[in-house]
Amino acid sequence: MAADTETISYREAVRLALQEALRSDSRVFLMGEDVGHYGGCYAVSKGLLDEFGEQRVRDTPLSESGFVGAGVGAALGGMRPIVEVMTVNFSLLALDQIVNNAATIRHMSGGQFSVPLVIRMATGAGKQLAAQHSHSLECWYAHVPGLKVLAPATIADARYMLALALEDPDPVVIFEHVMLYNELAPPPVESDRLPMDKATLRRSGNDLTLITYGGSLPKVLQAAEQLSQSGIDAEVLDLRCLRPLDTTAIVASVARTHRVVIIDEGWRTGSLAGEISAIIMEQAFWELDAPVVRVCSKEVPIPYPEHLEQAVLPQPEDIVNAAKQLAGLA
């Protein structure tokens, strides 16, 4: 496994972003389970304890509600905490603090207090971690006014979105898909830095639009490549920010291609894919040449065996098949 100096991993990109944040602002600190001595459950924060010390790279007990709430309080107290929750499933233990406090304090106080808190967490399936470590619940957080929700799907976004989240005066939840951590790309440069709340085209095309976010993006790009070999020119829109949604970009793409497949690792019922579909119906109904199609996870808790886990998740072939049907080529 020779290290390629011309590429960095998603994991390293997040680490660089954390390092830059900790270096540039003394108010920033990282807190969470095993972020310090262990180096992060997914090795994201490895080495940061040595550089910044125990005060600023702070190991916490297994008290999700306690330390996420402490993050809210520290943000109220003038700090810029970055709280890492090991996985989205564990974040359910902190839902009270995120939904009842972080998202509401500005509103309940009549605008007197902002909560400049960043919460990072791993999400998604693919590592055979079964039904309590693998879910995609981004949609739950995207439902809540007062929160902003990010899903960096590329190494460049992993590198630059954290700083944007820290600049934001309100609570921002960042989802890092577990299957992205080992992805490699050339080191991003400043010009790769996109605005926080804008969707972006990862591939331009004329025949149909594939809308996705987070861990599904590599699969969608792979599907788009296969589709091009079948003569279908697919556009790929990466949402990047799940709240607020960039409806302008969604509608603009639909207006160009008139056909849409939404790929979402969340369960179909009550999904972001459903929300996006409704937005398209409301705002771009007359642009559509065919009904919107959704490719989502099957509605079961994520199973342990690899073949069953993969059967749950949206796969490139599912996306290709859905797109071909939509284009009338299946």
Partner: protein
């Protein structure tokens, strides 16, 4: 700072404490009336009977210290110095309220007083207190965060997580448990295996103490000692104040879970009657002076009501303001 601060047991200070408690009592009695007139809606949780805790503890806190409270926080807000007019306007949901009308009775906030709200999730404020204290410690500010909660909070996980964090990180948090014996309608004996709440703090190596929460002087002394301990030793302190709620949990509560005799027994040792009788016994308070205090308070309450009545409601056009900072979306 090394010597425990003594409470100021002189006449003028005791009169001040009495007046503060009467102020809270009369404000809330008026709120109850206004509730029956449907001027105040939603939930209304009265602090009547428990005033000695907010008043006593506030004597020990400095302007730069922070406070977090529960949904039963009218008394703490008034004791902290939020204007009665702003609190009453908030009860009405008016724009001039201390939370712009958005919070209501359960969510009083005031940035200028470092008053971080009434929190309506039991134990939900404790982690915030830990975080505020952590921010102070990391920024080397010598401030205390005072966190009030009921004994019902002791059953919540956030209570234990917060005590552990505050002790582990040696944070300047004053935990104040207002033990009024009932979590809504469930008696302490039906919900806790260890009913001496302060003893739970011992498990986290937090110095702790139980005090008569009906005696404002005792509460003040305990709070001053607690604050001295926090400011000198650096870690948290846990104060359990034993008290009793004279009125229903909220205006919807028919109080089937306790008998009237019990309430009467507690009323006889209420914080206001206790201090009034003590002052009278020692010839420190004459009827005309008490009448004058009552009059001053009544005038303030009525002025607050008039202000709230005349204040404007927020226009619906600005409904989505303050969801995010600096705009609507």
């Amino acid at each position: 700072m090394t010597q425990p601060d003594k409470p100021h047991i002189n006449r003028s200070h005791l009169i001040k404490l009495l007046q503060e408690m009467i102020r809270i009592r009369r404000f809330e009695e008026r709120c109850a009336e206004l509730y029956t007139q449907q001027k105040i809606r939603g939930f209304l949780h009265l602090y009547i009977g428990e005033e000695a805790i907010a008043v006593g503890c506030n004597q020990a806190l400095e302007p730069e210290d922070a406070l977090l409270c529960t949904y039963r926080e009218h008394g703490h807000a008034l004791a902290r110095g939020l204007s009665m007019a702003a609190v009453m306007a908030e009860m009405y949901g008016k724009q001039s309220g201390c939370s712009g009308g958005r919070g209501g009775s359960m969510h009083l906030f005031d940035n200028s007083k470092r008053f971080y709200g009434g929190n309506a999730i039991v134990a939900g404020g404790l982690p915030l207190a830990v975080g505020l204290a952590l921010a102070d410690k990391m920024q080397q500010r010598n401030r205390i965060t005072a966190c009030f909660f009921g004994e019902g909070a002791a059953a919540e996980g956030e209570f234990h997580e917060s005590l552990n964090l505050a002790a582990l990180w040696k944070l300047p948090v004053l935990f104040i448990c207002e033990n009024n014996l009932y979590a809504m309608g469930t008696a302490l004996s039906l919900s806790e295996s260890e009913q001496d709440i302060y003893r739970k703090a011992e498990g986290y190596k937090i110095p702790s103490l139980a005090v008569d929460g009906m005696n404002v002087v005792a509460v003040e002394e305990a709070a001053r000692n607690a604050c001295t301990s926090i400011r000198t030793a650096g870690g948290p302190f846990f104060l359990e104040c034993r008290t009793y709620r004279f009125r229903a949990h909220s205006m919807f509560d028919s109080q089937l879970y306790r008998d009237k005799a019990e309430i009467e027994t507690w009323r006889e040792k209420g914080p206001i009657v206790q201090l009034t009788n003590w002052l009278r016994d020692y010839h420190q308070l004459q009827d005309p002076e008490l009448a004058e205090i009552e009059q001053v308070v009544e005038d303030e309450v009525e002025a607050a009501v008039v202000t709230a009545e005349n204040a404007d409601f927020e226009k619906v056009a600005t409904l989505t303001r303050d969801v995010y900072t600096g705009g609507s979306s």
